[in-house]
Subunit: 494 residues, 3 copies
């Protein structure tokens, strides 16, 4: 029995593997010529909105390099005690915490309210015996975290620390989970929020009708202060009925006279039910590992016993820290480090078809020239500066310049890129539009050139076997290289 079973199982896993690879990644074609890019740009946010409790900045999603990648990019700064109101987007998001700490709450439909208060004497409401507040699981978030948020999943976040909580959010609008068009859309469930992407892509291209719509809407908002959370579109009486509340509360939900924006400041502190943070980050980590293991075991057992679909969704891990130096995937004491999060170490990314890499290049170190095999890369610079070149299929340099803190650059699939840190070093996060994004290095120990026979190298490049051998073996490092020179100010290529 055991042997054939074992084989079948292996076969099953192999099939699974192929299945995984084979899955369609994205439904990506915005238009037939979306990636005819002559020049990429390192860009800072195009648009800025002050809110009561923070700042909301966005990159213009109409810019060709974002349209080619099918993404929209946002930066949120939530001040201490600030609350980003509950909302959901039409496409999955990857959120990277650049700085600070906080709490994030998600609302998985059908999942139980598993966090409950210990004791509480309010005793209001119409509910018999509802002394204690209950709500769904909360997630502690901190610098270096990647958080994966599925399309349509409502969530809110709160800064419970004492410094600003800064996040960069990638909205993958060309993801197959977005069945609407390619406009990034956020549906707010509370407040009277600002429009995140005022330069929405409707203004460009085919959408004359949309332009009017956009203009009309802006006018409406400015002149009449119309609310725009999702409840504001329903009649007050429907809201009364649905929630079984009085008309005043129903009107409150529509937030007619709320000018706080989408990030509000909480009066006092937010009173949340949650397990305490550990004093020692170290202990916390250890415990977290154990908990995670236990959680996995649990969901495994559930899923094979009683289908357990909901169980698995409800306890699904959404978060992975990629900022911790001690857990680097690639490390060179001279050159820097890399950490990757993908479908293997954060399984929800298989669903979202996204992944990310965080890297730190030490002073003057170089990231091997390479290309993304099966994904676009969207680089956001966390700290420092680097010189960078990107090359297209015609062998033309479409980017040759500096990348600085706070800037974003898109590197289209298959375009080759090389980076060299300036003196102050270079730290970045790169979002990838594939849950198993793969990189092909062009130089170094795990590279294209090592895989080639020497004689192919010699003939291809019209060099001697001797030269071919040097070309192949002279660089023994893996992907992060030390350099003999300082960062190069390259001449402009034609």
């Amino acid at each position: 029995m055991a042997k054939p079973l074992f084989l079948s199982l292996s076969l099953c896993l192999i099939l699974l593997f192929h299945g995984c690879l084979a899955r369609s990644r994205t439904a990506q074609y915005q238009s037939q010529n979306a990636c005819q890019l002559n020049r990429l740009e390192a860009r800072e946010p195009d648009h800025k909105r002050e809110c009561e409790g923070g700042l909301l900045e966005s990159w213009d999603p109409n810019h060709e390099q974002f349209q080619c990648a099918g993404v929209a990019l946002l930066r949120l700064t939530i001040q201490p005690n600030g609350l980003h109101l509950p909302s959901y987007t039409n496409a999955p998001q990857l959120v990277h915490i650049i700085r600070g700490r906080g709490v994030l709450g998600t609302i998985f439909p059908g999942c139980a309210e598993t966090f409950e208060e210990s004791q509480r004497g309010l005793g209001g409401g119409g509910q018999p015996g509802s002394q204690r507040d209950q709500h769904q699981k909360l997630h502690h978030i901190r610098e270096g975290d990647i958080i994966a948020l599925p399309a349509g999943l409502a969530y809110w976040s709160y800064n419970d620390g004492d410094q600003p909580l800064v996040t960069v959010n990638l909205v993958h609008v060309s993801n197959s989970d977005n069945q609407l068009d390619l406009e990034p859309r956020r549906f707010y469930l509370a407040g009277n929020p600002h429009d995140e992407f005022p330069q929405s892509r409707i203004q460009q291209g085919q959408g004359r009708r949309s332009e009017e719509r956009q203009r009309r809407r802006e006018e409406e908002k400015e002149q009449q202060g119309l609310p725009n959370n999702i409840f504001s579109g329903f009649s007050v009486r429907y809201i009364q009925e649905a929630f079984n509340v009085d008309s005043e509360t129903a009107r409150r939900i529509q937030n007619q006279n709320d000018f706080r924006g989408s990030i509000i400041r909480v009066k006092d502190r937010l009173d949340l039910v949650r397990p305490p943070r550990s004093r020692q980050e170290q202990e916390h980590e250890t415990r977290r590992q154990e908990l995670r293991q236990a959680e996995r075991e649990h969901s495994r057992r559930q899923s094979s016993r009683d289908n357990g679909m909901e169980e698995t969704v409800c306890t699904m891990r959404l978060r992975e820290n990629i900022g911790d130096p001690a857990r680097a995937d690639v490390f060179s004491p001279q050159a820097g480090r890399l950490r990757t999060v993908n479908g293997y170490n954060l399984p929800i990314l298989n669903w979202l078809q996204l992944s990310a890499e965080r890297g730190f290049l030490y002073s003057n170190a170089m990231y091997s020239p390479h290309y993304n095999i099966n994904a676009h890369g969207i680089i956001y610079v966390i700290r420092g500066r680097a010189r960078c070149q990107v090359v297209d299929d015609f062998g033309r340099s479409v980017f040759d310049g500096e990348l600085r803190q706070g800037q974003a650059l898109t590197v289209p699939q298959n375009f080759a890129i090389v980076k060299q840190a300036e003196n102050e070093g270079f730290e970045w996060v790169s979002f990838k539009t594939n849950d198993r994004a793969k990189v092909s290095q062009l130089a170094g120990r795990i590279s294209y050139i090592w895989a080639l026979p020497e004689d192919v190298i010699a003939n291809s490049y019209q060099i001697s076997r001797e030269q071919a051998r040097r070309l192949k073996y002279n660089r023994q490092e893996a992907s992060l290289f030390t350099t003999s020179h300082q960062s190069i100010r390259p001449a402009v290529t034609a």
Copy 2:
């Protein structure tokens, strides 16, 4: 041995689960701004064609709300003894039987002819010993059935009852199984049928060439009575050769002088090989369950023993009844009931990436405000009337009106909707463009508001903890609510 195997298996299932979620749903982007909808409409069919044996009605697939959803919608009325000729479409279909009963035959290539006549004395043809007719499996269909038809699968249907057989067909043109463009296409294998979608999308937009094509075709048909089943494009001599028949029969197949349309009236009754229907519907159901169980067991054993791919395809279940009150998924004696069919209870839907919900709201009852997380919804009203509001990402009401029997309304992904039945109640089917379509309720016991901490509610909506508590807990029902008032005639929202 057993333990690791078990774990591996569980892991396998978990991976599968993720794999399922991760699968690309649709390749949906008709154009960059396909979902810039300012106003939705409850629409009745735009086009009507009388046939010899019935009526064919279609909604204009060019209407923006159908283009956003990437679907086309049809209604067929097959009179008793009417036969809808064999055909296939370029995209998968969900067929819901609104009324009546009948027989549906599918043609799975490579599957065996498993239905055979008991005795028959004709003895014609060139075939030695072919006394008995044999053909592929037939399916009994009846009111309340959802039938899933893959793209490119030929099928025919026949009304063997004594009242009209009425079906509503959703053609999911933006499905990834359709590799042609977004025009709904039906390929007839017999007859001289009408065009189902005369307002085909080619007339709009970029397609001047197509417009000509359409016009020319209409002219051709009307002036010269050209046939247009698929065989009519082949030379008569090829058909003679292929079927090894005389030229008269070959010409018959091309149906040059057939004016019966795509639904014909059968002379006498159709003489079919099939197991008898049971007298007692109840017995029938029980037996069907057992048969299904046996069928599953069988295909399970087959698939692990000898690959068995074909076996599974050939006995695949295409049908699930969602009209039976006794099998509701959600039921409230005061408010109504809901029944869902999706990839879990009708596995072929995993392949088709579609699902459906059928609901019945009792007099004045309300369906909780909610949104579709990962799918568009296409509502068709089976009986009664309801008031309905739909809200977009700007918090604007894009639909605020009545839905009546025979009307269809598209609810785009993530748009919020609320429905309240009028006095006569409201029964509907909602097709969803995802095999695991998920809904997020905004009010009630399994809702967004229950998942939020009270303090987040209080701060978000600027209300007291007391009010927050009422907002959260005052509505204890799940998704179908009784109301204190009659249906509301809402004021027009700006």
Copy 3:
């Protein structure tokens, strides 16, 4: 234990099966009306480039029939001792070897260099102890092979035979693994290659900007001899740093003055590390089978023991011979033979979502009228001639003519086709845009007509039961038919 496990496993496999079917095939919609085809054409290559070591021919990817199918087509002739320089494409490729033999090297990032030289005294380079060259696995290729190449995978090929090596390459630009737009792009890693698709699709449609880009580029190349392998876009100093070589070698890699084109002639013979070819093709085959079996066993064991993802990728089979008459899937001594390669017999095709069929129709034999259920077909004629008709959804003949050696014809999904060989026979390869491409025959023993009840046939076509019976059973062959007549010169259909 065993029983439930067994059932679970079976369930798992069933789910897998559904999963496989359900996977999104392609993100195919180039534009809304890409498949409004009034007429198909049998086309020879539109463009030709002479290289030092061979010839490069391409079909215009802008032609509507290639745009509908979302593919680009190429023919390469590599002269003896010619080397097609290392490159990768933005979309997966299927390569069919029409004639000749050679060696193909792939570069899988992260895979080990598993081919090593026995002894070698060069001892150069900076590497201590690097006497022996090592490189990744090489593949022997020969007439009749289908080779599957993933998007972004670098590869090179070399003709080590004594006759030209001719290949036809299908680039599946609408594949979901291509996240760029629909332009076929090849990134060369060496040389100063020609543009493969000078009539790139950017010249058509929306791309005025692109047109300029294209023109500018052509001017640049012709006037200034600008190189365009991928390294030429990087600064020389970056290349020096990356490879740790002198500036002369760095410049060599950029190949500034290389006019050999993308297929070069190797000086002497290419000196490669590889297992010897067997003398006896027969022995070779047997051994290959065994090796393959062993390989599978190995990867099975690996994958269940230590995840083994990389292991499986590194030893993945890329090649299957479909030209060998002895291994036909369908064979008729009178009519011909068929051989199919798909996700079942070459699992990498599950990932690439492509498959292929090779067929040989003997003199005057006919391939049953049929349609592709879930794929486009792209036919390339290897030898001989055939008469062919293709019919669309309006029953109109969109192709009615001859197919000759060296021509290509696209058959869109669901369009019906019939082929009859001329006197000299007809041999072809048909690439399909689905890893489980399925065909539905309209005549013959495994066909639509056999699956229908006789009475449905009689009523649909308005013929007698007697005639229906003949129509159904007169052609007893499966898919390849002998004919009584010579190939038919069909009259022009209106």
